[in-house]
Symmetry: C2
Subunit: 303 residues, 2 copies
């Protein structure tokens, strides 16, 4: 694999940035890596584990001389960071991000950046329940999708190079416009996360069912909700605040459906329930066929 960028700068050193750092090293995709994080503790850990070649104390320092800058902080912090780094960006550099919402990132970041850089928003669809600089691993993006949402008039050479980078890190790349991305993700990610958070919150609240029972008997379905409800709270707060319209739209559809099923339960309409549950099986088959999950029993969890 050839070197695609001479110097990459990560602003933010959490799960995604640290996984990118490992994946870039695995394939020798960049000449030199630099990174910074707002918290001193994170920077100290990054130095200790040698996550990138150079851990900088400020974002301005990190981006100096970089031909690729990756914004890896929660969406709510991106506007301020973009303002901070703008004067220090090299002409011709590519600036990208890994935020889970794209239109809001474009609105926050694009106006801050000089015309001399290529801003290409991105979103790798991969993650775990863990956060922080120690949580990254090189194979996180393997066979996962990364969606890029280039703006009109985006430089095609810069775009092609960023695509190659993600492919070199193991991902498949798709291009779409930001509003469509935000709607698709509201369905496949944002609303499911909100629902999982809610269900876990309900369980946590119930007085008659003790914590210990909820935990002991979680293998019956509940634990799959707790995994996605254990993701980073700041990141998810920002997702819902910035993809408000699409999330509320899908939530509206969800409660409409849920009430129909609830009514069927109340009325004892077994035929409606059976039809519904049969229909949803097909989608699962599609996901396994597409290589986005395994059908191994229990996902190979320790038994």
């Amino acid at each position: 694999m050839r070197v695609l960028y001479q110097r990459v700068a990560f602003i933010g050193l959490g799960l995604i940035a640290s996984s990118m750092a490992h994946a870039m090293r695995r394939a020798g995709l960049v000449g030199q890596s630099a990174g910074t994080a707002r918290s001193e503790e994170t920077r100290a850990i990054a130095r200790e584990i040698n996550l990138v070649d150079e851990v900088c104390d400020t974002a301005a320092e990190a981006v100096r001389g970089a031909d690729l800058v990756v914004l890896c902080m929660p969406i709510g912090a991106m506007q301020a960071v973009a303002q901070e780094i703008a004067p220090h960006l090299s002409a011709g550099a590519t600036v990208t991000d890994v935020g889970s919402v794209k239109q809001a990132v474009i609105d926050a970041v694009a106006p801050q950046l000089p015309d001399t850089v290529h801003f290409i928003p991105g979103h790798p669809l991969a993650g775990t329940e863990h956060s922080g600089p120690r949580s990254g691993f090189a194979s996180l993006f393997d066979n996962r999708w990364c969606i890029l949402t280039p703006l009109e008039g985006c430089d095609s050479v810069a775009l092609r190079r960023l695509e190659s980078l993600w492919q070199g890190m193991g991902a498949n790349v798709d291009l779409m416009d930001a509003p469509h991305h935000d709607l698709v993700l509201a369905v496949t990610s944002h609303t499911p996360h909100l629902i999982a958070y809610t269900m876990v919150g309900v369980a946590d609240d119930l007085r008659r069912v003790t914590d210990s029972e909820v935990i002991k008997y979680s293998a019956a379905g509940f634990r799959d909700f707790t995994r996605i409800a254990a993701s980073d709270p700041t990141m998810w707060r920002d997702v819902f605040l910035t993809n408000k319209d699409a999330t509320l739209e899908i939530l509206g559809r969800f409660t409409e459906e849920l009430f129909a099923l609830q009514r069927a339960i109340r009325q004892g309409d077994g035929a409606l329930l059976h039809d519904y549950f049969t229909r949803t099986r097909a989608i699962r088959r599609g996901i396994i066929d597409a290589g986005q999950d395994t059908d191994a029993p229990d996902f190979g969890r320790s038994r």
Copy 2:
């Protein structure tokens, strides 16, 4: 491990029965195994894979001479089967079941059975998204819980023997009364399943987000819902029809919470969202500490 029962009869040969058959053989827990299923195809497969020692064409035949009878069919079919086998049960035999709801099973089954048998309802909290006689495996119950809900006056020797059987199959055993079981499971299993079914149904319905996009981008959270929404439709229909009150109660709490979060999103109340998402993290930690899930990234799914 000593032989606990001379002859076990499985009525129904799906995921749970076939896993029990494998687990019993693994540990040498029963002398002889028999089984039957309503569908001829299932019986033929069971014969082909040598799932039990004797595949019978009728339930009456299967239970003849058995000192343990396990009802492994959907709950809605249990009353009729109990009526059918009642005249053929051996005196002193234990009759148990593996249904996900317990009070409804007791109401349906107990009145059909002669006083000469011990009826001890049970529910192993284990499963996969797969169904049928080929889907079973010996380790399904390892380190999982099996809840028994003995009736008042239950014979303690018969109860102890059934507990030993489940322990011999790798499970931990808990005892509780049926109504409490049904409430706990409404929280940890039934409501999460209904919600997962609903979310998958919403995704399936949306016209602007194509099937292919929902499937491609499912790794972002949605796939965890599809797994639990791929379980057996008949079994789940019966769960909701027979655990109606507890499920509707928890659903009511769920929608109340969901509306509070929805309102916070609409109003941009980031503090409320962040607090909520932080609180739900703790429960996840408890589940991993209790050995009911792994915190390995991605569950060791193929990457």
